[in-house]
Amino acid sequence: MSSNHGAEAGAFGVGATAPRVGGLERVTGRQEYVADLPHGDALHVKLVTVDAARARVDVIDGTRARAVPGVHLVMTPADLPQPMPRFGPQRRDRPVLAVGETKYHGEPVAAVAAETPDAAEEAARLVEVDYEELPAVFTIEAALATGAPLVQEPSLRPGDPLATTNILREHRYGWGDVEAASNQADVVIEGTYAFPMVTQFAIEPHAFMAAPDGDGIAIWSSIQHPYWLQRVMADLVELPLSKVRVFAPDPGGAFGGKQHAKYEPLVAFIARRTGRPARLVLTLEETFQAVRRGAAEVRVRAGFRSDGTLVFRDIEANYLIGAYADIADRTVAKGSYTSNGPYRVPSVRIVARSVLSHTVPSTAFRGFGNPQQIWAVESNMDEAARILEIDPLELRLRNLARRGEAFIPHETPADGDWAASVSRAAELISWGGPRQPGRGRGIAVGLKSGPTTGLSYSTVRLLGDGSVVVYAGTSDMGQGARTIFAQIAAGELGAPLEWVTVVMGDTAVVPYDQQTSASRSSVLMGNAVLAACRDVQSKIRTMAARLEGLPDDGIMVDRGEVRIGERVLPIREVLVRGLGRLGGEVIGVGEARKEADPDHPLGGTSAFYEFNCTAVEVEVDRDTGDVTVTRHVTVSDVGKALNPLQVRGQDEGAAIMGLGHTLMEHYIFDEAGRIRNLGAIDYRIPTTMDLPLRMESDTVENEDGPGPYGAKGMSEGALLPVAPAVAAAVRDATGVVIRDLPLTPERVWRALHPELTGAPEVRQAIEGAR
């Protein structure tokens, strides 16, 4: 392929479906994930847990465990610095090992390090832990009850007026006057909607390794934010950043669950104590006890005029976060700030609480706090449409903000032609067309704000033969970031795609990137890579000017070409001549920032919005409650599809992931707070057999985004409105409104047959305000 690279150059520039960089390695099992790295003399770590959620830990006796051949260390809290080091992206509340008391089922009280995984596992079982189960809270209701046991000691929350409650934080947003607006509404629709606890279920389980590295430490982690981890680790082990080297091999799926430190601190302390590398690979079951999405109960009151115009919305959301904050409270804030959606509403009040509980700490998960409230608000819209006797599509179009409209005061105005996505989805599903008996259709929209701050650097080296090395600190966890950056560099510098190498995942080599989240990397790191390419281009221009004896401004360099008057030369030709006998290379650097705004409730305005419209058709089996999605249409406003096939992959993947929490996924707890469906047998994610019978995805591309060539971030949008669209379709097919997820066959069946179970699911409260 590489022989005639001139002909290939630019063939897979932006806008083309370039083959996935690293894709073949992933699907053939050749890619090395953290667990696959050669680990030579590493010790294997196993977590020690107790069979309870909240328990007072009295004695940890490692005598029998230490007797297992090959065991090097039974690490208990007493072996760690005192007071116990704590960490966390929002609050430093998570201890390296539980201190005195476990806060959730699965929290480690000790850890064993041994020569083999088997020895570690056997020894972990032999660690004797005396503990006593303590009263605990696993639901929003229990956590908020007066006299509820506190999840976090008030001493950990000095100066916090909520310290003696289980509310970690309360967020209040809004504008206008909801009370006054109540009088202007012809109809008020109210409902409470529940969203389940679900887990990210990345196919690669989390894996961690740490090793002494000269006078510093090296960490390997399947992490989305290597530079953030570097800071956390530097702090914990008291080393300068330059002595903490984080390797972040491409994760095998992350979905938000791999953003922040989990067990890196533990393996680092073990490595420092033993002087040996230490590695920990979680089992799938342990990942259920490490990461999940916050469950939520959301009450929505919305007032409409009889023509469907929204006059106010009043939203109260309680999120059941876990025992430690992780990034959960930020998901609550971000998910709430935009929870009124893409609508023009004069008066809005949003109150959202992060409620601590004795459950697995929740964290970021594709959609970042938004799907919970979109489920509520969009379901409420569907109920309003039915009561107002207005077509649900019409109701959306009537209230949707137009481009440029400040639909949230002091925030980035509507940055797209959102009605175009809605109309396209309606067209694809033949919204107004005839339905087969027993089938129903539903439509919903989702809006999510992109990053509120950001900082990415990139270095691009144009090597002596015209090939390119791009340094980008993004983590490619399957979203295809390597491909996008390679496409940008290939297109700008005139190299064939396979002549571009993208280097990621090593904080000692690759310049800083804030994080891989919020669908930011194509925009922020993409802009940084583009800027670095432009820097290279300007040096090529100077080179060409020197060679031609012309002033710089007579020469243009763009998209792989050098234009000198009428003449057009490939960059490579100028490069080779310009570098001369010594050879060498041309180095460019680029930077992209999204500045913070300290007065903004989220710390900054949204860099862009992800907007999606989803329309589905379902068939409901009245005898079993089984819901078959016969058609699923998803349309995202992406600004510009840098790689159309990857965009489609992300949209369809997000849509299917959304079907998981819509139809089947949820943690089930026993009375003691233990997860009953821990693992793949009884926690169901959709398989290929569960996919919609037909799925179509489309995009709206107006090149109106802040990213390279007008791109917006994308990859979460298509998940946002799946649940309300499906529930609306079930309502359309059966007449039954269900306000709790997931729509398992059994739940649908119960709703369809309230007479059989005596527990009607259909709760309706319609209140005429006049």
């Binding site: 009884d682 959709p686 398989t687």
Partner: protein, 285 residues
């Protein structure tokens, strides 16, 4: 750390019988149940394994003496591809197609499903509905156990500790109809919430059903036939009234439980509806 029991791999049946007679061994065929039990530490763990995979006498699908005979080591994939199975036991092929996914179907065997005796074993109601005979063998010789007598309790069978399942015999009855339906927790890789097989004979072109069998999985501690419901259907024609009465009868006859996959209520109601629907489809109304 999963246990690592020693494994014997006999090359012929005589050797296998001798090993089983000498000490207790847990047979392992495809291993799709055994390995899950070992790594998940579920139930009584085996001290020794007897790998039966090389016993060619346990393979093969034949039609003779009025019966379809399927060797214990026959995989689901083999059944799905077998013309005699498709012709004489389409409901069994249908059940095979719902088991796990391709990897499990390539490895899992019918003998394993039978001996594993899970109440959710998907082929078992079909075997009950087809009056299957399970042929067991040991040093003492071969014997036949009717499917109806085979599953005796929760994960218990009529097999002696030293016996192997050799094959299963399904009588071929041209006038018999068999239907299968599985309600799982999702559409693939799913453990059944309810699984049902229904069979009947038509005699002399008359609409009344004879020799009716209604067999169920996942609604009791073992796969069962609901004999009272069968009695009600015996000699009846598949009318709306019959279907309604049968639905009511089966709901009263079974005593399912609540578990993490489903509730008793749901299992009972869905079993009734599934039976009613099968009768309706058979009646063509």
């Amino acid at each position: 750390m999963p246990i690592q029991p020693p494994v014997e791999s006999p090359r012929d049946l005589g050797e296998a019988y001798a090993l089983l007679a000498a000490t207790h061994h847990r047979p392992i065929a495809g291993g799709t149940d055994v390995m899950v039990q070992i790594t998940g530490e579920i139930g009584q763990l085996p001290d020794r394994l007897l790998d039966v995979w090389h016993l060619e006498g346990l393979r093969g699908i034949t039609v003779s003496e009025g019966a379809l005979t399927i060797g214990a080591l026959t995989t689901y994939t083999a059944m799905r591809h077998s013309a005699p199975c498709r012709e004489h036991a389409p409901a069994l092929v249908e059940a095979a197609a719902t088991i796990g996914a391709a990897q499990i179907q390539n490895r899992g065997t019918i003998g394993g499903n039978i001996a594993n005796a899970s109440p959710a074993g998907d082929t078992l109601p079909v075997l009950l509905a087809m009056d299957a005979e399970i042929v067991a063998g040991s040093l003492r010789g071969e014997r036949i156990v009717a499917a109806a007598d085979f599953w005796t309790g929760y994960r218990r069978t009529a097999l002696a500790p030293d016996e192997l399942v050799l094959r299963v015999r399904l009588p071929i009855a041209p006038d018999r109809e068999v239907r299968f339906r599985k309600i799982g927790t999702r559409r693939a890789q799913a453990i059944s919430k309810v699984v049902m097989a229904l069979s009947w004979h038509l005699r002399d072109g008359r609409p009344e059903w004879r020799d009716v069998r209604v067999a169920l999985g996942s609604v009791a501690e073992r796969p069962i036939r609901v004999v009272a419901t069968e009695a009600l259907l015996e000699g009846a024609a598949p009318t709306a009234e019959t279907a309604a009465r049968a639905a009511e009868a089966v709901a009263g006859e079974i005593k399912p439980i609540d578990d993490v996959r489903s509730t008793a209520d749901y299992r009972r109601a869905v079993t009734a509806r599934v039976l009613q629907r099968m009768i309706r489809e058979a009646g063509g109304w």
